[in-house]
């Protein structure tokens, strides 16, 4: 560590360049991880809010909630600790000034899918809804009357909940009968037992078996991954992050290798003097770790600072645990980049260095 730190102190410019590159790579990694988390939240917030372990859908729906058609009678067939019915449809809501894609959830107020209310009150009558508070940023307010595409029904926002977006659309929560009115219009009475799924909270999800082949029990994480575009989006961003890990390792490896080659003669003399290869190798590894730690830390801080200046429309959400984990990986792969330099040091013949 002594040798590593002394060299950094003496050759500041050289090491600032390496640290700067690591800082930029880590900045990009942290930003992409924020974007990945933000976009994931955009899809899954409402589902996470259920704190559910599984969802029962029809087998032929292919894990798609709006394509699953069940009846409330089937609820009694499901053997689980806690269960709740859910109806869901997508629509475009307008308050006269603004239009917005929304996801309408029909639920029973007394079941666990009932969201918390952060502003206003819970729905009490027909056609009242609790809306995701991201709609406020889009110009929707308490008391607004909403008209929906493909329905004559009008809904009124009586409350807001937080963190409730589903598949990138803000969620509206209403009673099951309101949901039926919106979905079936005049035929609502005849279809008042129609739902799209049954959400389950049960610790022993692995043993949860649907009553017949027509129904399928889907673990909640699997359900989220089946949301349209969710997995593709996640994989794309994660691929970019993993690629950056590789890039940072290669950049560090090249830089350090060049620096080590420049110092072969010096290392050779030191080895001739009896300083071991392991001491010199450890010095290079320690140096890389110091540089990657400084670069990653600056990148981390810069990311958080940048995040405060981003407009709300940018779907970035910084999860400090994930960022910390990625930061650690970045430091490890960058340090692994020192391996070529270590091999070079081990192979240095002190005899050649002193001209024997």
């Amino acid at each position: 560590m002594f040798l590593a730190w002394q060299e950094i102190k003496k050759n500041k410019l050289r090491f600032i360049l390496i640290t700067g590159i690591l800082m930029l790579v880590s900045y990009l990694v942290f930003f992409l991880s924020g974007l990945a988390t933000g976009l994931a939240n955009l899809n899954r917030e409402a589902v996470d809010k259920w704190e559910a372990s599984a969802i029962i859908l029809t087998s032929e729906s292919d894990k798609s909630l709006p394509q699953s058609f069940l009846t409330t009678d089937q609820l009694s067939d499901i053997n689980a600790d806690k269960k709740a019915v859910i109806g869901q449809l997508n629509a475009i809501a307008s308050n006269g000034d603004q239009k917005q894609n929304i996801s309408l959830f029909g639920i029973n107020k007394e079941e666990f899918l009932m969201p918390n209310v952060v502003e206003g009150r819970a729905f009490e009558q027909e056609n009242e809804v609790i809306a995701d508070d991201s709609l406020k940023d889009k110009g929707f307010n308490l008391g607004d009357t909403l008209t929906l595409s493909s329905s004559d029904q009008q809904l009124t926002i009586v409350g807001f909940t937080d963190d409730a977006r589903f598949n990138a659309a803000p969620a509206l929560y209403a009673t099951l009968s309101t949901f039926h009115q919106v979905k079936f219009g005049e035929a609502a009475e005849q279809n008042n037992d129609q739902i799209n799924g049954i959400v389950v909270q049960d610790d022993s999800i692995s043993t949860l078996t649907p009553p017949n082949d027509e129904l399928e029990s889907i673990e909640i994480e699997s359900f989220i991954e089946s949301l349209p575009g969710y997995t593709e989006q996640k994989l794309t961003l994660n691929f970019m992050i993993y690629f950056l890990f590789g890039i940072s390792s290669i950049i560090v490896a090249i830089f350090l290798y060049v620096l080590t080659v420049q110092k072969i003669s010096m290392f050779g003399v030191m080895k001739a003097q009896g300083i071991s290869s392991s001491y010199l190798s450890w010095s290079v590894v320690a140096q890389t770790f110091i540089l990657s730690f400084i670069g990653t830390t600056i990148g981390f801080v810069l990311t958080l600072i940048s995040g405060t200046f981003l407009p709300a429309a940018v779907p970035v959400s910084f999860d400090l645990t994930i960022m910390g984990f990625y930061g650690l990986i970045l430091m490890l792969v960058a340090t692994a980049g020192a391996v070529f330099s270590v091999l070079t040091i081990v192979r240095i013949d002190p005899l050649k260095a002193i001209g024997g």
Partner: protein
């Protein structure tokens, strides 16, 4: 007291008709407090001799003994430890670590050798070598003579038994070269080390207690004054 012994040491490269004998059967002995010069022309085997004594090169045959330890019986790691503890190197271009101040050059050795020198001993070393004022300077700030003084300080750090100096004055003008030899003689006598200087500069042999000539891999002791004129001619 004998510090270094070579018994029938040889070094050959290649085989068959391409075989080159860099060092022919050599017996050598050096005692504590002796300053010894090995002179000879380029390619005569001087450096081969020095690197074998320094444990950097294994002889083809024979035995090298440093303070009773048979170098040829040791593995590379053990030889590295011997170099660290028993041998100090002074090289032609001083070979200081460019990014370490003079104080830190020595601190590095302190760390590697696990600090077996007291502060008082360190200060005495700085004083003996007249480098106390240079401690905060970097190698690039030093003159050639100053760099060699620091290199000698490094070689002497933690009191090795043997100092091996390979052309220590080659990059210096005459005045600085004599200064360095003065210093090597002084520390050899003061600290009772065994110092072996490999050089092709016969002006330096006046400082030495013994002089050996190396020609075509054959090491032979010479009477300093009697044969210097002859050696001078060969070296050139």
């Amino acid at each position: 007291m004998t510090v270094l012994e070579l018994h029938q040491v040889t070094k050959s490269y290649g085989s068959g008709h391409k075989k080159v004998d860099a060092l022919k059967e050599t017996d050598f002995q050096a005692d504590r407090g002796e300053l010894i010069a090995i002179i000879g022309p380029s390619g005569s085997g001087k450096s081969t001799f020095l690197t074998i004594v320094g444990g950097l090169l294994s002889p083809t045959s024979g035995d090298v003994v440093i303070n009773g330890q048979h170098l040829t019986a040791l593995n590379e790691k053990e030889r590295s430890q011997i170099r660290l503890r028993e041998i100090g190197f002074v090289l032609q271009a001083s070979n200081l670590v460019p990014f370490l101040s003079v104080a830190n050059q020595l601190k590095l050795l302190d760390k590697v050798k696990k600090g077996n020198m007291t502060k008082a001993e360190r200060n005495q070393l700085y004083e003996d070598l007249d480098i106390a004022d240079l401690l905060t300077k970097y190698p690039s700030d030093l003159s050639g003579g100053q760099r060699q003084r620091v290199a000698i300080a490094k070689a002497l750090y933690s009191n090795p038994s043997i100092i091996l100096a390979d052309e220590p004055t080659a990059s210096l003008d005459s005045e600085r070269a004599y200064e360095v030899m003065d210093l090597l003689k002084k520390v050899t006598k003061q600290k009772k080390t065994t110092t072996i200087v490999v050089t092709h500069d016969i002006r330096l042999v006046d400082y030495c207690d013994k002089v050996y000539n190396m020609t075509d891999g054959v090491l032979s002791a010479i009477e300093k004054q009697a044969n210097l004129q002859h050696i001078s001619g060969e070296s050139r």
